[in-house]
């Protein structure tokens, strides 16, 4: 049976479509990722599945129950860890968990046993009687995850579970989620805009952008759509005609056009990033990536284009997103100019629909 079935799920806020006719299924026992940039509609989608927002149209079933008409049945079977903290900081860790356990109707013995269990799992057993306001961000996060699992839910929703955490804490939380999934068989739905997170954790991923799911599948199959390897070539524009072709943009474009013709090349294009903007060519290749390199170099030499450097890597989900949308998934810090540009873009896009 499928743990989650969403059909043409839509949510509008003041006429803007935050989630736009999304259809997908999550199988029982898998870790399913919703990957996308900020503002893609992941959190709104998750809130609808967790019965906190009513869909504008479309429907969703969680554990076989409708999220609108059977909201209480759904709530009984899910655990939710929100993006923002939702702990009572004036209570101790134990009191927070005890509150949760009581709200879910757990008996006294079961409460004690499970609270001890989950506290040990997240390594907070000696902090049970400490007020949560004295916890660090990572400790609070761990406590929230422990709480989400306390009542042994069938589906656990995690909204950006490692947002703002340091690398070590993030790693340990990933491993912890994986363990819970493997040992207790809990289905996990996780939203994230970290590709590494989606790649490390998820059995399957749906990539979201502007409220829509634009691709779905296992991380491997999604990455395979970008070929077997990504080769980045920095073009040396200084060799000739520097005065005419600043930074060798034209050279790079010429090279991309030539390489696109090669039969083992999936796609080749000029990529801009930072100061080297325009003089870098990215090539997605099929087959064994390493063996392609000599041929690429040869083709460049034949055309008389100098190569400054060349690097080789496996494709990531970032490449998938880039290929599908022409943009990068990473957010460049909040409130910056790029964010502003992105948001005007978001609004413009949605108004047009």
């Amino acid at each position: 049976m499928d743990a989650i079935v969403a059909e043409r799920l839509t949510k509008c806020f003041n006429g803007l479509k935050a989630v736009d006719s999304v259809t997908f299924r999550v199988r029982e026992g898998e870790i399913f990722g919703l990957l996308g940039p900020n503002g893609a509609g992941k959190t709104t989608l998750l809130k609808m599945l967790a019965t906190l927002l009513k869909p504008t149209s479309g429907s969703a079933r969680v554990c076989g129950y409708d999220v609108v008409s059977d909201a209480d049945e759904v709530r009984r079977r899910i655990g939710v860890v929100f993006q923002e903290p939702t702990l009572d900081i004036k209570l101790t860790a134990f009191e927070n968990l005890d509150f949760h356990a009581r709200m879910y109707g757990m008996g006294k013995e079961e409460r004690r046993r499970r609270i001890r269990e989950v506290l040990r799992l997240v390594g907070l057993e000696d902090k049970a009687d400490v007020l949560v306001e004295n916890f660090s961000g990572g400790m609070q996060r761990r406590l929230e995850i422990a709480r989400g699992l306390l009542h042994s839910p069938e589906v656990l929703f995690l909204d950006e579970p490692t947002l703002g955490l340091d690398v070590q804490t993030r790693k340990s939380i990933w491993e912890y989620i994986k363990e819970r999934n493997e040992e207790e068989g809990v289905t996990v739905v996780v939203t994230t805009h970290y590709m590494e997170e989606a790649e490390f954790l998820c059995d399957r991923v749906a990539i979201m952008d502007f409220g829509k799911v634009i691709a779905a599948g296992t991380p491997e199959s999604l990455k395979a759509s970008c070929g077997s390897a990504v080769i980045t070539i920095a073009v040396d524009g200084s060799a000739q005609s520097r005065s005419r072709n600043q930074d060798g943009v034209a050279e790079a474009e010429r090279l991309a056009a030539i390489l696109s013709e090669l039969e083992f090349v999936e796609e080749a294009g000029v990529r801009g990033c930072g100061r080297g903007r325009g003089s870098v060519v990215e090539v997605n290749v099929r087959g064994s990536g390493e063996t392609c390199i000599p041929e690429l170099v040869l083709a460049a030499a034949k055309a008389g284009i100098g190569i400054k450097s060349l690097s080789f890597r496996k494709p990531t989900l970032e490449d998938v997103f880039l290929k599908l949308t022409g943009r990068e998934i990473r957010d460049e810090g909040e409130g910056g100019f790029k964010d502003f540009v992105r948001w005007t873009h978001v609004l413009w896009h949605r108004r047009r629909r």
Binding site: A50, T51, L52, L53, K54, S69, D70, D72, E73, R75, R76, I78, V80, F82, E84, P85, T86, L87, D88, I89, K90, L91, E95, F99, H100, R102, M103, Y104, G105, R147
Partner: protein
């Protein structure tokens, strides 16, 4: 769809919410002290005014004032308890409550039970604080001597009225909290609603002294009946029959609690 009563009214969830509220309340002792400060100073300083007994139903002013100040304490602490929904919204804990498999009715009942406990506690503390300032309970039957039985009945009845006053204003607080997005609306409610309710209630001086239009407003103020009932129960003097006080407060309590529950239910988390 089948709905059982146990699904709508869930005693263990109500108890859980009540428990949390009381734990928090007694943990934040400075808040208790702080919230009692204002009514305490009102009582201490106003009681010094040279008010003729003839102008306050033939009572010493402290005896007239103390029930009013207890009403004030209940008004402020209950409204605050209701508005604490906003705190939970700001600190995110409301989400944890909203996503639990507990009906909205039980959530609101738990909150009201918790708020009632804490504001009753403050009201009774205020009552006790009035004694050293010269306040004396005379019990229910007006005039005459204060018999032990009269005092006992008076105190028990006043507790009942304290409950009704609390319910009314917690309901009001929850209704506003469901509509307000953050704490910035809080002072607006406090200054433009709670203070007028207090001044109009006849807690500080008898309604007879009000101009006619103000009396009309006072009759629409639930606290007027609350203060009147407390005065009747504790010192044996009041303007309205006790039954009218009870009916008015029961009605206002039912209305605000229903309104609070209705608006809370409709608010999306």
């Amino acid at each position: 769809m089948k709905t059982k009563l146990a699904d709508v009214i869930n005693p263990s969830a109500i108890y859980t919410l009540w428990l949390r509220e009381t734990i928090r309340f007694f943990r934040l002792r400075s808040r208790v002290l702080g919230s009692l400060g204002m009514p305490l100073f009102f009582l201490a300083f106003l009681a010094l005014l040279p008010v003729e007994p003839s102008s306050v139903h033939g009572l010493r002013y402290i005896d007239f004032l103390a029930p009013g100040i207890i009403g004030m304490t209940l008004l402020f602490s209950s409204t605050f308890a209701g508005l604490s929904v906003i705190w939970d919204k700001e600190f995110g804990f409301l989400r944890e409550i909203m996503v639990a498999p507990v009906s909205r009715v039980s959530i609101i009942l738990g909150r009201i039970a918790g708020g009632m406990t804490t504001s009753m506690f403050q009201g009774i503390l205020m009552l006790l604080a009035a004694f050293p300032m010269g306040f004396r309970i005379r019990g229910l039957p007006s005039g005459g001597e204060a018999t032990t039985l009269a005092i006992l009945i008076g105190v028990l009845l006043s507790v009942l009225f304290m409950i009704l006053i609390s319910a009314t204003f917690i309901g009001m607080g929850v209704a506003f909290a469901s509509k307000l997005k953050d704490m910035s609306g809080y002072s607006l409610v406090m200054n433009f609603l709670v203070f007028p309710i207090f001044f109009l209630s006849g807690a500080l001086f008898p309604l007879d002294d009000f101009p006619r239009w103000m009396r009309m407003l006072a009759y629409a103020d639930p606290l007027t009946y609350g203060v009147d009932a407390l005065r009747r129960c504790l010192v044996g003097v009041g303007e309205f029959p006790l039954l009218l006080d009870f009916a008015a407060l029961a009605l206002s309590g039912a209305v605000t609690v229903w309104l609070g529950a209705y608006l809370f239910e409709r608010a999306e988390g």
